[in-house]
């Protein structure tokens, strides 16, 4: 069908080209950044483009962390109405590229020097078959702890460096009558936390082999079993109503001091920012105990579609603006993430942002920058979701023991491969 589609589109675009000698000064952008902070960040881009004379045709579809948007995108592509660009994650970019619907930005990339400034790990997803098909917007890292400083001071805690210290800290909070761990009981949140647990328990090498290479030996190893034990331990520090809670509500618990800590990606910092909290004085950001030096990342990308010739100029402008240093800085300061290129000055970033940028650079150079399995950067969606299923079922008790969890994980991943 896709081939037919492509022929149809080619036909359509040919005709469109004949009809419009002039370039279309408009970008059509599908995204799910509809909340106030995100929209404000994206507005920076919109205004950038407006300055160059390009109108912004907004296609926002919120819900399910991009699920609804991806469904809409699939429908748009099936219909042959490609947007100029779409917000996309990891393997989705590669899937669409393999289907042959993505554009080619190599020329611009070479001119702008993206291949030097964008970390190689990210290029794995933005470059397909030697061609640039997507512009990375940011790098989120997943292995963070977000701690309420006031609560921390009250219970006299210090930065935990190992998993055992972390447990000791949680115990202190429990003793002080604070909810130790804020967690939202949705499968992606649980799995995101488990990413960090595995990295902490098994170390960088183990994480890579298990969660990026899907090595069966590692998946069914005792280390994995121990990781599940650690997860089980962590879940005992969660309040009883955690199930189904949205992540930002969990963050809010930490912000308000109802809970001590949340294990979450750096997008949580956007919530602290929105609540006008300052790192160091109101809240603390630490790497998940035992994962310092490694970064488990995911990244928002703007996938660039194979649009008709008359829309290419607008697309190039969008891509260039997206990876411009000024936008990368301005956007990521608001969003909580770090720039997708390593040569952006960190002057505008707060302490956590600066640490994040330094960590990314180090991890990139040291080979410890790993894709998050929970966030769809470790393996294709079928595997990632099978993984989330197992973790979530373990957390909620459908899977009862770590042994069973390991068996289930191996089977589920094998099944979904």
């Amino acid at each position: 069908m896709l081939r037919k589609l492509l022929i149809g589109t080619a036909l359509g675009s040919g005709l469109a080209f004949a009809a419009h000698a002039q370039d279309v000064k408009e970008v059509e952008m599908l995204h799910w950044w509809t909340s106030g902070g995100e929209a404000a960040a994206l507005n920076v881009l919109k205004e950038d483009l407006a300055k160059q004379g390009f109108a912004w045709k907004d296609v926002p579809v919120a819900g399910g962390g991009g699920d609804a948007a991806m469904t809409a995108l699939k429908a748009m592509v099936a219909a042959g109405n490609y947007p100029t660009a779409s917000q996309m994650l990891g393997y989705t970019v590669l899937d669409y590229a393999a289907a042959g619907v993505m554009g080619d930005l190599t020329e611009t990339a070479v001119k702008e020097g993206w291949d030097k400034s964008v970390p190689a790990a990210l290029q794995k997803f933005s470059v397909y078959d030697g061609k640039w098909v997507a512009a990375p917007v940011n790098v989120h890292s997943v292995n963070w702890l977000w701690i309420n400083k006031a609560v921390m001071d009250k219970i006299g805690g210090t930065e935990p460096k190992t998993f055992d210290e972390f447990i000791a800290l949680l115990d202190k909070a429990k003793a002080a009558g604070v909810i130790p761990l804020a967690l939202g009981g949705q499968n992606w949140q649980e799995a995101t936390m488990f990413d960090s647990v595995v990295l902490s328990t098994g170390g960088p090498e183990f994480y890579k082999k298990a969660f990026n290479d899907l090595d069966e030996e590692q998946l069914k190893s005792d280390t994995m079993k121990k990781s599940f034990d650690h997860l089980a331990k962590l879940v005992t520090y969660v309040d009883p109503n955690f199930s189904g809670r949205d992540w930002n509500l969990a963050t809010a618990m930490v912000i308000k001091g109802d809970a001590l800590v949340q294990v979450m990606g750096d997008w949580a910092k956007g919530e602290f920012n929105a609540a006008r909290k300052t790192p160091g004085t109101d809240f603390l950001c630490y790497r998940f105990p035992g994962t310092d030096g490694s970064v488990v990342y995911n990244s928002d990308m703007f996938g660039m579609f194979d649009v008709p010739e008359d829309r290419k100029a607008a697309q190039v402008a969008l891509a260039t603006a997206t990876l411009s240093k000024s936008f990368q800085s301005a956007f990521n300061v608001v969003k909580g993430s770090v720039p997708a290129r390593t040569d952006v000055p960190d002057t505008d970033f707060d302490a956590c942002g600066k640490k994040g940028m330094a960590d990314l650079k180090a991890a990139n150079e040291g080979g410890t920058l790993f894709g998050s399995l929970a966030q769809g950067y470790g393996a294709p969606p079928a595997v990632a979701n099978a993984y989330k299923d197992v973790v979530s079922k373990f957390v909620h008790g459908q899977i009862k023991t770590s042994d069973e969890a390991v068996t289930q994980l191996v089977n589920a991943i094998e099944d979904a491969k």
Partner: protein
């Protein structure tokens, strides 16, 4: 029909059995009314509260300092994607999609019902059975093939526009949505009208034929004027379903200039970051639901009457 009003046999201790009976009946009705109203109540009181009160107060408590701010914000200021002009603009998008979709699917259902009862042909039951079964297809599984076809139609529209100057609506997202809702509404509208016309006297059709009325004249002059009850039922049913559809709307008309109300509302409500402004969300939800609520309250009476007139007959 109405029964139970059996006269009290003996009045016991001053209060008659009948009175007790009435109290029980009214009590139960009131209790269930509370059950049905509860979510509406929660939404309403929340929409008049400040964020502070929502975060710190009781969900069921009345607002201590009622404010219209959330309503104004939802109406004219809240952000749908990058455009921050409230949800008011999306009303029109929805209306210009819903009204034609409802009218076309209802009219087609009426005419199908007319043919399937008054102009029967060999195999009419099979045709009807196939159309009725179509109601059960899960919409998720038609999303992609439908998109493909809409895409082809859209390209054909471009060709047409280049050739003739008009695209005849092909490729227009609103037209696409109307088309999709008509296609998947046909089963139910045909069912409603067929059941209604099944009980409609065939002799009237014969009389009109003898009087010289044509196929369409009979439909327009005899069938339609006598179809008011079922019309109300079908229109309400279709209006509600189409107005509230999210799946098709988000997949086929996600862009700002055609985006229907539900998609806009979803973009307001379903944000995953930032402080969730529940009061604005609730106000927006109420505003978005106003047309359907209005339809139910205003036409509710005719609704039961219409159901009586035939829609519930097997």
């Amino acid at each position: 029909m109405s029964v139970i009003a059996t006269p009290a046999r003996q009045s016991t201790g001053g209060i008659s059995a009948r009175t007790v009976n009435r109290i029980v009946v009214y009590g139960l009705l009131a209790l269930f009314a509370l059950f049905y109203l509860m979510p509406l109540f929660v939404m309403l009181v929340t929409s008049f509260k400040t964020m502070d009160e929502i975060q710190n107060g009781n969900m069921l408590a009345l607002p201590q300092a009622p404010t219209f701010e959330p309503w104004l914000k939802a109406w004219g200021e809240t952000c749908v994607g990058l455009t921050c002009a409230g949800i008011k603009g999306y009303f029109w998008n929805s209306i210009k999609m819903v009204v034609p979709a409802v009218l076309i699917s209802t009219l087609l259902g009426a005419i199908n019902g007319y043919v399937l009862t008054k102009w029967r042909f060999r195999g009419h039951t099979v045709v009807f059975g196939l159309m009725l079964f179509a109601c059960f297809i899960p919409f998720q599984s038609v999303l992609l093939p439908m998109a493909t076809i809409l895409g082809s139609l859209g390209r054909f529209g471009v060709t047409l526009r280049n050739a003739t100057g008009f695209s005849f609506g092909l490729g227009n997202p609103t037209v696409n949505l109307v088309f999709v809702h008509v296609v998947y509404g046909l089963g139910f509208t045909t069912l409603f009208f067929r059941n209604y016309y099944e009980a409609f006297p065939t002799e009237l059709v014969k009389a009109a034929q003898v009087d010289g009325a044509s196929f369409f004249q009979i439909f327009r002059r005899i069938m339609l004027p006598n179809s008011m009850p079922i019309f109300v039922v079908t229109v309400i049913y279709q209006f509600t379903n189409i107005w509230n559809d999210f799946l098709f709307a988000s997949a086929y008309a996600g862009t700002g200039d055609a985006m229907p109300m539900t998609v806009a509302l979803n973009n307001v409500v379903n944000t995953s970051t930032g402080v969730v402004e529940y009061n604005v969300n609730m106000a927006a939800a109420m505003i978005a639901a106003l047309p359907t609520l209005l339809v139910y309250v205003v036409a509710g009476r005719y609704f039961v009457r219409g159901l009586m007139a035939g829609a519930v007959k097997g």
